[in-house]
Symmetry: C2
Subunit: 112 residues, 2 copies
């Protein structure tokens, strides 16, 4: 009963939220590769990001110069593309945090 509406709604809420979450994970300066990011975010937030969502997202963030990437060969297995945040990325994520904080305050006001 209206599971479908909720499902679509969650998908829409993720728009914007995911880039915010990814930048926050990278914020510390530690480099992550894509597959690792998906699992890390799932572990911390219980939010599942599809691979078909993450890789285009990382490319967008790279185009915007908020992150950089580097291929790293592995002793065994497939090479990994490591992403790390830029100075501009850190500034941006700070502004995003401000907006999110205000948005949540507003929502708290009307939900209760």
């Amino acid at each position: 009963m209206n599971e479908d509406f909720i499902h679509k709604w969650i998908s829409q809420v993720k728009k914007g939220t995911l880039s915010f979450i990814v930048l926050n994970v990278l914020k510390s300066g530690k480099a992550y590769y894509g597959y690792d990011l998906i699992n890390e975010i799932k572990k911390i937030t219980e939010i599942e990001i599809a691979e078909g969502t993450l890789y285009p997202l990382m490319n967008r963030l790279k185009d915007e110069k908020l992150i950089i990437s580097e291929w790293v060969e592995q002793e065994s297995g497939i090479p990994r593309k490591y992403y790390s945040i830029t100075h501009e990325g850190k500034n941006t994520v700070t502004k995003m945090e401000e907006y999110w904080h205000n948005l949540n305050q507003s929502i708290l006001k009307i939900t209760k």
Copy 2:
């Protein structure tokens, strides 16, 4: 500097958020007309909803049977279309609140 990225990001964050906010305003049971909703939401949350956003949104919520609408003639001026929440709408907004709460908890975890 990257104002454009932030601007686009905010627009994306609003996707999903707006339906949640509208349903929350209607939650009490009081009926609102479109123009009034825009001003009410702006007053409470400082979030500006374009008319070209609100009216299609209200039609979607109506299609989903989360709200109903009724034309009301005015003694003076243009007739107003009043919207009110349905039982199903109330159930839905409760589920949305749960999801939002969890999402925000997760984000708080990674932003600090």
